[in-house]
Amino acid sequence: MGFGCDFGLVLFLILRSSQFFHGIADKQPMKRVSNSLFVIVCLSITVGLLWGYNEFTNYFNQGKEYQVQVHQLREQIEKEEFKNTLLQNQLTDFKQSVAAVLPPNSEIRNDVASYEMKNFASALRVPASEAQLDLSGIIFEKGKKLFKEQKYDKSIKEFRRILDEYPLSRFKVESHFFMAEAFFLQKDYKSSLDLIDQMLQQYPDNDLTGFVMLRMGQISELNNRLEEASEVYKTVQTHFKNEQLRAQAHKLSEGVQVE
């Protein structure tokens, strides 16, 4: 199509130029004739270039038809999805209206005659604030096992899952503790310190916080901040009542003084 148009245009230009040329040939001097020729040549080159460009772009846009088809199909899918959403919403609305009319599940009698109604009500209603199934215990055991096997990366992932998916889990403190330990044993001291900080903020009185504080002291020692380490050990000794923890803190603190 583009080629046809351009070809017609070239012909049109040549014809017009030749008419112009014949019209002025016997009246104008030679200089004007050469100027006209120059103009025609320029125009021909321009049109030729444009035609070439068109052909070039056409060659690389051969998939255009398919693109249009894909676009049309996408639009069709969007329309179908839109209609489906409307129907789904209508259905949900109806279900909710029916669920509101039915008596509470506890008031539906537990006999054969009411069996269908009970099933119907259960299917329509959401459970009344039923607690989420808590799998944090299983995940915690898995994490602990991986920790014992010294697969620290994997164990960290499991403990992280507990913190993200079960924020009210009773294994939250221990998960924090094991993560801080795992990072420490991997020599990722920065991540370990971040977790220790979190534990200090969230569970300042927990014994496990005391234990990770010992790690904090050790990290300070590794960084040659002996005074800081000594201060941490002293804090543990004064703030926590766990004998084992205090004994460990005392031992570590003596180690710092010897050096």
């Binding site: 049109v47 909710q96 669920a99 509101a100 599940n105 259960s122 959401v126 459970p127």
Partner: protein, 247 residues
């Protein structure tokens, strides 16, 4: 030379590709918006705004709405975000509740199938749940509403202060004015909502007090019943005593 310039311009124009895009609205029935009701439509542009009289509504991209009333007084939000910038006595329905506010702003966010969040900014917003109970959401507070539970009651959350940081994103996306205007409005709200936490404490206190009062009332009623039963028993005993011994 002028002719040549004209000619070149003509050629250039001749080579230009002109594309005409089809209409971007998606509605059911087709092209019903503003013509027939009910009309369901999906917002396919960046945002959608509606203004009629003193009603001003805005919706975000992807929102699905149903216009249910010719006078634009009833709308249904199927999914997405709707900002009622000013919608006095307009009903916004969702699958779980109907919101009706006075003049002022409030938001309805139906982001997931089972929960809808209602945020009241400056309106007097009253929600009517599917179980026909009502709840007023104070200014600067929000509440999520879910489906009907096994007790035949609508599940809903505590009325809690709006987290302004979370709200800003949705607000900025639909905000029609300039950035400076937006910043100034945000600052105004921030100042107004400074004591929200305190207010929420008061609300929870009132709710707790109301519950305690209800429990006290129940206890008082039980005591009253017991007292009456005791009186009745005493009366019967006296009657019996009278008949047996006073004859």
């Amino acid at each position: 030379m002028r002719k040549l310039a004209h000619l070149l311009l003509f050629i250039a124009a001749f080579q230009m590709e002109v594309r005409v895009r089809a209409s971007e609205s998606m509605s059911f029935p087709e092209n019903c918006l503003g013509k027939t009701v009910p009309c369901s439509f999906k917002v396919t542009t960046d945002k959608w705004s509606f203004e009629s009289g003193n009603i001003k509504l805005n919706a975000g991209q992807g929102a699905i709405l149903i216009a249910q009333d010719e006078k634009s007084k009833e709308w249904k939000l199927v999914s997405g975000t709707l900002w009622a910038q000013n919608a006095p006595s307009v009903k916004i329905k969702t699958v779980n509740a109907v919101a009706e506010g006075s003049s002022g702003q409030y938001w309805v966010l139906a982001e997931s199938d089972d929960r809808v969040v209602f945020r009241n900014i400056t309106s007097k917003l009253v929600l009517t749940f599917k179980d026909q109970t009502k709840l007023e959401v104070p200014r600067g507070f929000e509440v999520w509403v879910g489906g009907i539970n096994s007790q035949a009651k609508t599940e809903h959350g505590m009325v809690e202060p709006i987290n302004l940081k979370q709200h800003l994103k949705a607000w900025y996306e639909l905000y029609p004015g300039s950035r400076t205007q937006f910043v100034s409005e945000v600052q105004d709200l921030k100042d107004q909502w400074a004591d929200l936490i305190e207010q929420s404490g008061d609300i929870y206190k009132k709710v707790a007090e109301r519950k305690l009062a209800a429990l006290d009332e129940k206890k008082r009623q039980l005591m009253e019943i017991k007292r009456k039963q005791e009186e009745e028993r005493q009366r019967i005993r006296n009657e019996f005593h009278k008949r047996v011994f006073d004859q």
